[in-house]
Amino acid sequence: MRNRDEIAQALAISGYIADGELATAISLMQLLRRPLLLEGEAGVGKTEVAKALASVHATELIRLQCYEGLDQSAALYEWNYQRQLLSIQAHRGDNPDDVEHQIFSEKYLLERPLLAAIRRDKPPVLLIDEIDRADDEFEAFLLELLSDFQVSIPELGTIKATAIPHVVLTSNGTRELSDALRRRCLYHYVDYPDVDREARIIMARIDGASASLSLQIARMVEGIRKEELRKVPGVAETLDWAAALVGLDVRDLHDAPETVHETLMCLLKTHEDKSRVTREVSERLLGRVA
């Protein structure tokens, strides 16, 4: 078992600055072989956790993006129909049983993310993104897969997992997940990072962002989050803004209040929020940034 300091360090090397609790969660994932369910506001870096985890384990990341109406043929496997039709035409006149046997063989099977994830030799990271958007039926099916890690394909038979993947699920809370799925998973609530951690994230991700500028940006963003906004900026927005400021050659926020205000569009994504943070507001916020 790798302890959580090692994990936090490995995450930091891969560019993800984790808090201590997330490192614990990841060490638990390995120990208990349970999936990890991440919840939190949009843009706090839930998906990034999975990416960082893949680079920590030096393994492949397989991603399944959920949406309403997602079914097994898009998530698990599908037959290659065009190829099957061609093959049937080519073998016209052959014994029908042989033809059937042939077109339902491995060669004609298209792997979708879930099947791919259990057939790798080295356990990959399986990211099931925004599970709350999928239907209840799919959730139930997923629950079964996550407990057995085997899939049965009527034409081929049962396929057992060669390696148990590291499973990360994310949810934005648009729909309540079933209690069964929640119980099956470890739970971690991802919150907006505090100023210190956000500054470190900026420094790790944006080339050319100095320590003082990163801290200023993080403080400014913290102030903006406390304003009554409809859409609170997430970490991704902070990074966009930091990249914009660095790109415009801003070294200190106080030197360029104009640029600061004009680039706030990186953070504020609705017209209402944009008009709420007027020049006066942005200057007041800037004044509080040391």
Binding site: M1, E21, L28, Q84, I88, E176, E228, V232
Partner: protein, 400 residues
């Protein structure tokens, strides 16, 4: 559930001393009492964690247990307090604070949303034809089955019905209305869902005998969940004039909708679907009156909703569920609790419809603390004091 301490899973782990495992079992019980969904599997994993060296530091153990036992944000927020109180003997803060919802109320985005909704009043909600609106009335006209018989009653406020025969007629009409709603809702559903896609897998499998030429096409139809109605009926004293007719309405809905559930609440909540489905009306009434002990007294809507969210919601509500609350909103309990529980309910279901029979009364304004706290979370707030106003609901439901 104190049996967990002696379950075989714990005995296998002889590294964990008997004392620790019984303490752990007590902790699991504490968690269950606080609303955590913790099962045997979690208990075994917890024991495994303790042997794996996580018990060395209390901070590490707390963080590990937090991930293992929490299942949602509310659990996540109150876990630390419970852990500290149990293992470290710190005083636990009062339940109303640790529940975490008070923190959510400070969240700026939520607050602005609530404020903007409140200030703009009902305009922020979905629009449904109201009975006062002459134009909207037309939508419901001529579509009520057997309108000729119930016609004269359609616009009479239920509480003004005095004649027993009239009351009986109104009750019958309500039941009939519920049946009619079901028929039309289903029919509309079918017509709309005619769109299909080709199911290639079945098509090819089925046409192998034709040499693979797809002669018999197999179509795939979207299997749609039928709309489910969950009705929460206020049976308190202030609603007594309307309870009778709504009970009949609910009975009709339970009979006709494949998926419907009914609850009755006053100072507490009772699940009445089974009792209402009783074929024999007299027996149904008997069972109901036993359940409705305390009906006609005060109303604790917030607490009843809390019970509903905690014990029934996960089972009863799916993504195509409309929750219909029939109440006047006079809350004798904590209005803030009502607001919080309404928000929790709103996250689970598709729409919340609040029917308020008093709404059509002259001079009525939703100023009572209860209804004020609940309104920001309601999708449709409509009157329901006449048959006509009940009919007006149907087009709204049909659109969902």
């Amino acid at each position: 559930m104190s049996c967990c301490g002696t379950s075989p899973g714990y005995e296998e782990l002889d590294e964990v001393s008997r004392l620790v495992s019984s303490r752990l079992a007590a902790f699991l019980k504490t968690l269950r009492d606080s609303g955590f969904a913790v099962g045997l599997a979690e208990g075994q994993d917890a024991a495994e964690l303790m042997t794996a060296g996580y018990a060395a530091k209390s901070g590490l153990l707390r963080s590990a247990f937090k991930h293992l036992f929490s299942a949602r944000k509310s659990d996540w927020e109150k876990f630390d307090g419970i852990f500290d109180a149990f293992w470290l003997g710190k005083r636990v803060r009062s339940r109303s604070i640790t529940s975490g919802s008070s923190k959510a109320a400070n969240n700026p985005s939520l607050k602005t949303l609530a404020d903007s909704r409140r200030s703009s009043g009902e305009t922020a909600m979905d629009q449904a034809p109201s009975t006062d609106d002459a134009g909207a009335d037309r939508a419901g006209e001529g579509r009520m089955e057997g309108a000729s018989r119930a016609d004269n009653l359609a616009e009479v406020d239920f509480r003004k019905l005095a004649d027993p025969a009239q009351i009986e007629q109104a009750h019958e009409a309500a039941a009939r209305l519920a049946r009619a709603m079901r028929t039309r809702l289903t029919r509309r559903d079918l017509a709309r869902r005619r769109g299909y896609r080709l199911d290639l897998r079945r098509t090819i499998h089925g046409n192998i005998s034709h040499g693979g030429v797809p002669i018999d096409l197999v179509n795939r139809q979207r299997r749609d969940k039928p709309l489910r109605l969950v009705i929460l009926l206020d049976a308190s004293g202030s609603m007594s004039m309307y309870t009778g007719v709504f009970l009949r309405f609910i009975r009709g809905i339970l009979d006709e909708f494949r998926e419907a559930e009914a609850f009755l609440f006053h100072t507490r909540l009772a699940h009445v679907s089974d009792a209402m489905k009783e074929k024999d009306a007299a027996r149904a009434l008997d069972r109901l009156s036993i359940m409705a002990q305390g009906a006609g007294g005060g109303t604790r809507i917030g607490e009843s909703l809390q019970t509903f969210n905690r014990w029934h919601a996960a089972r009863v509500i799916h993504s195509r569920t409309v929750v219909m609350i029939v109440s006047d909103g006079y809350e004798t309990g904590d209005a803030a609790l009502l607001g919080r529980e309404m928000a929790a309910l709103g996250r689970r279901c598709r729409r919340i419809v609040w029917l308020n029979p008093m709404m059509a009364w002259e001079g009525y304004a939703p100023v009572a603390a209860g209804i004020k706290a609940a309104l920001p979370h309601v999708d449709l707030y409509a009157p329901a004091n006449t048959l006509k106003s009940l009919t007006a609901l149907e087009p709204y439901l049909a659109k969902l």
